[in-house]
Each structure stands twice: as structure tokens, then as C-alpha cells.
């Protein structure tokens, strides 16, 4: 496959998924974060994997101002770009479609995010605990907490 022109990639994304792209941020050197509507995640992830031939790296869940953020990290190994898809989930009912049926590599990390943050992945083939079996109750999620006080300084 031909190399991707990153100058026009934002245009391509906007053309294909017009209203699903909420924000595009080019960070540092060869790093791109694309904030999308969570309903469009499987479609855009599929476009990344099938059309653009990106490699799935991992997903990072985190607590954000308005609920939870998940960043799905993809790598373009031909050009050294790192592209992350960002979805924002509601705090009261954090749910998003699973990518595990699309790519097996997403299976474990979705189980991990599920148990650490309590985020539900719809249509996941087996959303059981991955790392903390027997350590926490089913409704306790160790990483889910209120947003940290702004600019809290850790004592040295």
C-alpha cells in the first residue's frame, strides 16, 4: 500500500466520517489524536485497520472532566506515526461498542478497562475480569474516581 500523506489525512477523515469527527489534534512530532463520536468507533477503527493498515497497539482508559475517556492507539509502522482515537463516555452509563470482534488484540485490554473503570463494552465475547480476580467486588472499580484536584502537586 502506498504511503499515507498526513497532510491530507485530516481531509480524508472529514470526507469519510464528516459528522463523526469532533476534533483533530496534531501533537508533537508525528502524533495525531482524533476525537470522535463513540457510536462511530467500530466504523472508523475498521477503516484504520482495513484501509489504512494500521497496527492496533493498546487502549488507555482514564477519568476525565465529563466521565471517562478511552484512547485507542494505532501505529502506522511505515511512517512512524501514532494515531489515537479518543471517545468520551458518560459517567453515569459508560458504554461503548467492543472492538474485540474486529481485532483479537483488543480483547484483553477491554476486559482490563472494564474491571478497572467499570466501562461496559457492548458485544464483547467474554467480558470477565482479567487481572484482579478475587481482589475487588464486582461493582468496585479501583481506577474509577473523581477527577484529580487541578494541579495537585505531589510532595517530593
Amino acid at each position: 500500500m502506498a504511503a499515507i500523506n498526513y497532510e491530507i489525512l485530516p481531509e480524508i477523515l472529514r470526507l469519510n466520517f464528516n459528522s463523526d469527527i469532533l476534533r483533530l489534534m496534531v501533537l508533537q512530532r508525528r502524533r495525531l489524536v482524533v476525537q470522535i463520536r463513540k457510536e462511530a468507533l467500530p466504523e472508523i477503527a475498521n477503516f484504520f485497520l482495513d484501509e489504512l493498515k494500521y497496527r492496533f497497539i493498546i487502549a488507555s482508559g482514564m477519568v476525565a472532566d465529563s466521565g471517562y475517556d478511552i484512547l485507542y492507539h494505532f501505529s502506522d509502522d511505515r511512517q512512524g506515526w501514532l494515531i489515537s482515537l479518543k471517545v468520551n463516555l458518560d459517567r453515569k452509563k459508560p458504554e461503548v461498542e467492543s472492538l474485540a470482534n474486529l481485532i483479537s488484540a483488543a480483547n484483553w485490554i477491554e476486559r482490563e478497562i472494564h474491571e478497572l473503570f467499570g466501562i461496559k463494552f457492548i458485544n464483547h465475547p467474554g467480558l470477565t475480569k482479567l487481572i484482579s480476580e478475587g481482589n475487588w467486588k464486582d461493582d468496585e472499580h479501583p481506577y474509577a474516581r473523581e477527577e484529580r484536584d487541578n494541579k495537585k502537586t505531589v510532595k517530593k
Binding site: L27, Q28, R29, R30, R31, V33, R55, F56, I57, I58, S60, M62, V63, L71, H73, S75, D77, R78, Q79, G80, L82, S84, I103, S104, A105, N107, W108, I109, K129, L130, I131, S132, E133, N135, P142, Y143, R148, N150, K151, K152, T153, V154, K156
Partner: protein, 397 residues
């Protein structure tokens, strides 16, 4: 339906970043399914880092893995320097690459030794670990530690490698090269090793892409990915080297890739030493005062594959979120493809082939009969049947 026996491998393994328990579901000799359990030693390092300052995080991430202890600080430093837009001095970049490559050599030697042990070649095990000792000695000389070198900081390295030590490193490299030839010859030319590892534990290109496997596991299936080349960092773009791949897809290909990679590492170190001697001594760190707000991503090629670090900073002196992805996290998941359909005798070498460090695991492994609950086999038996298979092959030749 035939009787299925469960053979658990694991769970405790003090050397490993991810202690785990594999349950092999076997029908007779054939593995039919595999299940994975973990969390036995979950340390919550990502959570711990939220209460550490950016400088302290180095010492925590260094302890994620005992064998490739530089790979995590490497990825973390790459992430932080991108965020702070810090320029690392040339000499620090060369030192970083030298440490990274020395570590690759000793990690691969450790793997070769273990693989030899699993196959019943204890001579290979003793040789490989003996030669690994030379690398650890050089680490002790230049960093003060045989492992957990504590060399990295944001903006450079913490200690210089003075020019007087360059000749020591060169001497060690000259000594280790013939030993690598010896090991490579022992593995490549042995008909029994060929019989035990060729066509065993096949991972096709599609499997690798589906499970997003990285490092030598992916390169042994013909997928040429290497962060050192694809997303260059430290001194790697400044020296001449190549990415080793093999089309074999089996255990033998993984061994071949690792053995040949050690030669590339030796060559990278030699070039770095040449270039490093021309840079001013002591110019090793540009200190960073403030870490701005934002996201940052860092990658490094560990001996086992790509290490990925994600950091969210809010402008204070500690990370708000720190996500770590070790290469074994994606590589271990491939067992579902590589083990199923193989024999129990081959399972140990297939599991070992992705290098999840299995040297102590066997002590904890027991096989129980599903129905009676009676113990019928333990980890040492597993090693024994693997070694027995090699012996049988030797007798036939």
C-alpha cells in the same frame, strides 16, 4: 467425547513482569484449548505513578521488568522529552543506545539458554548463561549495577560512560563475537533442534496482525516492524543496521531472528562507541524544569518487542494517567493460535518461544485429572517429556 486433562502452567514467576497461569486443555497428547489467568502479582504500577513525581517514575518503571529493565525508562523518557520538547545531547543518545543494545544481547542470550534447557540441551543453557555474564560484568563497570541500571533521566542520562571505558566494552564485544558464532552454529546446524522446532508453533502473518504481536515474534513471521527503525529515537537513526526477519513463522524462526539480532546489536554498539568518542565528555543531560500540560506517547524497542507508554499531564509535577503496554501483553495472547493442535511435549518450547521468561514457572505447574482431581504430572515432568522427545529423536538419527 474424549477425556480432557487440564495442565496448568504457572502461576507464580518472580522474574516475569506478568505472572500468569495457563490452563492447557488436552485430549491425550494434543492441546485442544488454552486459557489464561493473571493478576497474581498485580502491583498497580500505573496507579502508583500517579502519586510520584515525573523524576521518580523512572525508578518505578525500571522495576516493571527485571530482565529488560532499560526498555521501560527508555519509552518513558521518549514520551517525556516529546512533551517537554527537550533536546537530548548526542553523547546521551549514544549512551542510551549502547545500554539498550547491551541489554538486548543479554536478554537474547538468556532466552537461548532457556530454550536449550527446555529442549534438553543443557550445555547450550550453561554456555549461553556463562557468556551473558560478560555482558552483566560490563554493565556493572559502566553503570554500577548488573541490572536496574538507573541511567535514564528526562533530557539525558544520569551518569557518563567515560572514554576510558570504551576499550573495556570493545574488548568484551571482541570476546563475545566468537561465542555468538558458537551458539548460532550449535542451533542452526543441529538436526535434532531442527526436528524439534521447525514447523512447530506456527504463527501466520494474519495471526500476528490479528493479535497485534510485536518484536521477534512478529519478525519471525515475516513482518518487518521495529520501532528503532520505524519511529527512530536515541542514536538508532545515526548508525547503520538492519531489521532481521524470517519467513519461517515457527519456533526455529524465532530463535534464528534472536540469534542474528545479537550480531546487529554488537554492530550498533561498535558504531555508537566510535561516534561517542568524538563527543565532549560530561555533556550528558539538558535538564528540564517544567512539564507542560498534554498527552504524550513514547515507544522503545525492548528485546521482546515494542514498549508503549502513554502519559497525560496536567501541568503539575506528576502524571494524571500513565498507561504502560509491555510487549508480552500482546505476544502472550498469540498462544491461543500457536499452541492449539500441538502436543504437550512441544507446548513448553512454544510458550517459551515468545520469551515470557519461564525459567521458574515449571516448579509451580501441576497436571490434574479433570475428574478425579488427582495430580498426575508437574512442571518438571513437562520439561522431562520435552527433553525425552529430543532424546528419542537423537536415538533415531
Amino acid at each position: 467425547m474424549s477425556t480432557r486433562t487440564v495442565i496448568p502452567i504457572g502461576p507464580y514467576h518472580p522474574l516475569q513482569e506478568e505472572p500468569e497461569l495457563f490452563k492447557l486443555y488436552c485430549e491425550g497428547e494434543i492441546v485442544r484449548d488454552i486459557e489464561w489467568e493473571t493478576g497474581y502479582n498485580h502491583r498497580g504500577i500505573e496507579k502508583i505513578n500517579e502519586s510520584k513525581t515525573f523524576d521518580q517514575v523512572f525508578f518505578v518503571v525500571e522495576r516493571i521488568c527485571g530482565i529488560c529493565s532499560t526498555s521501560h525508562p527508555f519509552a518513558y523518557a521518549n514520551a517525556m522529552e516529546e512533551l517537554a520538547q527537550a533536546k537530548v545531547p548526542d553523547r546521551a543518545n549514544y549512551i542510551r543506545s549502547i545500554i539498550g543494545e547491551l541489554e538486548r544481547i543479554h536478554s537474547h542470550l538468556l532466552w537461548v539458554g532457556l530454550a536449550g534447557h527446555f529442549l534438553g540441551y543443557n550445555t547450550v543453557f550453561m554456555w549461553a548463561w556463562k557468556y551473558r555474564e560478560m555482558v552483566l560484568d560490563i554493565f556493572e563497570k559502566i553503570t554500577g549495577n548488573r541490572n536496574n541500571y538507573a541511567m535514564f533521566c528526562i533530557g539525558g542520562v544520569r551518569r557518563d560512560v567515560p572514554n576510558v571505558h570504551i576499550s573495556d566494552i570493545r574488548k568484551m564485544l571482541d570476546k563475545i563475537k566468537p561465542k555468538l558464532d558458537l551458539l548460532t552454529g550449535a542451533v542452526m546446524d543441529d538436526p535434532v533442534i531442527h526436528a524439534r522446532t521447525k514447523g512447530v508453533g506456527i504463527l501466520t502473518k494474519e495471526d500476528i496482525i490479528d493479535y497485534a504481536a510485536v518484536g521477534p515474534t512478529a519478525r519471525a513471521s515475516g513482518i518487518a516492524i521495529d520501532v528503532r527503525r520505524d519511529d527512530p529515537y536515541a542514536a538508532y537513526p545515526l548508525v547503520d543496521w538492519k531489521v532481521i526477519t524470517s519467513e519461517g513463522c515457527d519456533v526455529f524462526a524465532k530463535a534464528e531472528v534472536r540469534l542474528l539480532e545479537m550480531y546487529e546489536s554488537v554492530s550498533i554498539i561498535e558504531q555508537c562507541l566510535d561516534k561517542m568518542s568524538g563527543t565532549p565528555e560530561g555533556d550528558i543531560c539538558n535538564h528540564v524544569k517544567n512539564i507542560p500540560e498534554g498527552y504524550s506517547f513514547g515507544r522503545a524497542e525492548a528485546p521482546r518487542g515494542e514498549v508503549f507508554h502513554f502519559i497525560k499531564s496536567d501541568g503539575s509535577n506528576s502524571p494524571v494517567r500513565h498507561k504502560v503496554r509491555a510487549p508480552s501483553y500482546v505476544n502472550i495472547a498469540t498462544f491461543k493460535k500457536s499452541c492449539v493442535g500441538q502436543t504437550v511435549a512441544d507446548a513448553t518450547i512454544i510458550l517459551a518461544a515468545v520469551d515470557p521468561c519461564y525459567c521458574c514457572t515449571e516448579r509451580m505447574a501441576f497436571a490434574y485429572d479433570c475428574f478425579s482431581g488427582k495430580q498426575i504430572m508437574n512442571g518438571l515432568d513437562l520439561i522431562r517429556i520435552s527433553q525425552q522427545k529430543t532424546n528419542d529423536l537423537k536415538m533415531k538419527l
